[in-house]
């Protein structure tokens, strides 16, 4: 009994772990982070949409809810490695260490929010919890897309300026000080 129940609990997380690894392998292979982040976020939104509508009538929807939990894990796990790599790759040497720290700190605030929105008195539907989660996931999709467009436009603008032209305009020290704002820096999409 013990192992059987553990397996029921562990299966969604196993799916999540595999999803996180596979998405990361593809993102590295194609050197493109955004589609695998947005894909994961949309998977998460579908999963939570199922859960928020069916959680109230869980007894008659156990297989569907159990499937949705797998889907939720598959969407949750690719996000931390994806956004971490995106941040590490898009900061210059000067800002990299502190910048990653700030990004993870903002993400961790989400953990604090998460621990307050699933209210016991709203059991089993948790409208506040699922509502906030869906809104934040939607905002995450929008953020990914805003970053993608911004990175693409900045890269295009910088590519229009030749390296010789840049070197003529700025000294080596100035370029170092600009970090990822240097016209020679290219963002990872």
């Amino acid at each position: 009994m013990f192992t059987e129940r553990r397996a029921d609990r562990d299966r969604p997380y196993t799916v999540g772990a595999i999803s996180g690894l596979v998405a990361s392998l593809f993102a590295d292979r194609f050197k493109w982070r955004m589609p695998f982040l947005v894909g994961a976020q949309l998977t998460l939104i579908i999963a939570y949409a199922i859960l928020v509508t069916k959680a109230e009538f869980i007894k008659s929807n156990v297989p569907l809810c159990y499937f949705a939990v797998h889907l939720a894990c598959a969407g949750l796990y690719p996000i931390p490695p994806g956004v971490s790599a995106w941040t590490v790759n898009n900061l210059g040497p000067q800002k990299r260490a502190m910048g990653v720290g700030l990004m993870v700190m903002i993400g961790s605030i989400g953990g604090v929010i998460g621990s307050f929105i699933y209210l016991d008195r709203e059991k089993p539907k948790y409208p506040t919890g699922f509502g906030t989660s869906l809104a934040i996931a939607g905002a995450g999709v929008v953020s990914s897309l805003i970053l993608e467009v911004a990175y693409w436009r900045i890269n295009k603008r910088r590519a229009a300026m030749g390296e010789d032209e840049v070197r003529e305009k700025y000294s080596v020290q100035e370029l170092e000080q600009m970090d990822d704002r240097s016209p020679l820096f290219r963002y990872n999409l």
Binding site: V62, P78, P81, Q94, V104, G110, G111
Partner: protein, 178 residues
Amino acid sequence: MNPRAGFFPGANYIVGQWYPPHKTQTRIAIFYTASAASGAFSGLLAFLIAKMDGAGGYEGWRWIFILEGIASVVAGFASLFLLPDSPALSHKWLMPDEIRFLELSHIKHRGRSAETSHKVEAQTLWKVIKDWQLYFLGMVFMSNTVPNYALKFTMPQIIQNMGFTSSRAQLLTIPYVF
């Protein structure tokens, strides 16, 4: 709640010091996946350690804290000696040519870091705080950390309705919050 909060920024940074951009995410994914896998493993480990109940006059739950705490401290100290921050500090296990290769590859992909001082670090902190991109990246991260908690509450209900008793189900759905 989350003793590993300091771990991931450091781990992500060190991966960035060693690997080029197109090899970074897979390495970072291994950290996060290991965190999930250890969640599955730690339940079993705790179950086994709890069987030491009474040994040395200590209850089983105390043994869980003692043994798992010792393991973390030993791993922490070992990493001081076994985990160099960058190729430049790896003379003990890399050939000079290999170090040179990794350093040049790093500079090519990620640039060279300038001289640092306390004054420069204060300026850098300000640059980081002003960087609007980091707030959007943080928002992307939050699309994981906020919804993550739902599983803690829905999983017990689902597993319970799959035919298990409530307290047991609650015990067995302790979430893996990294």
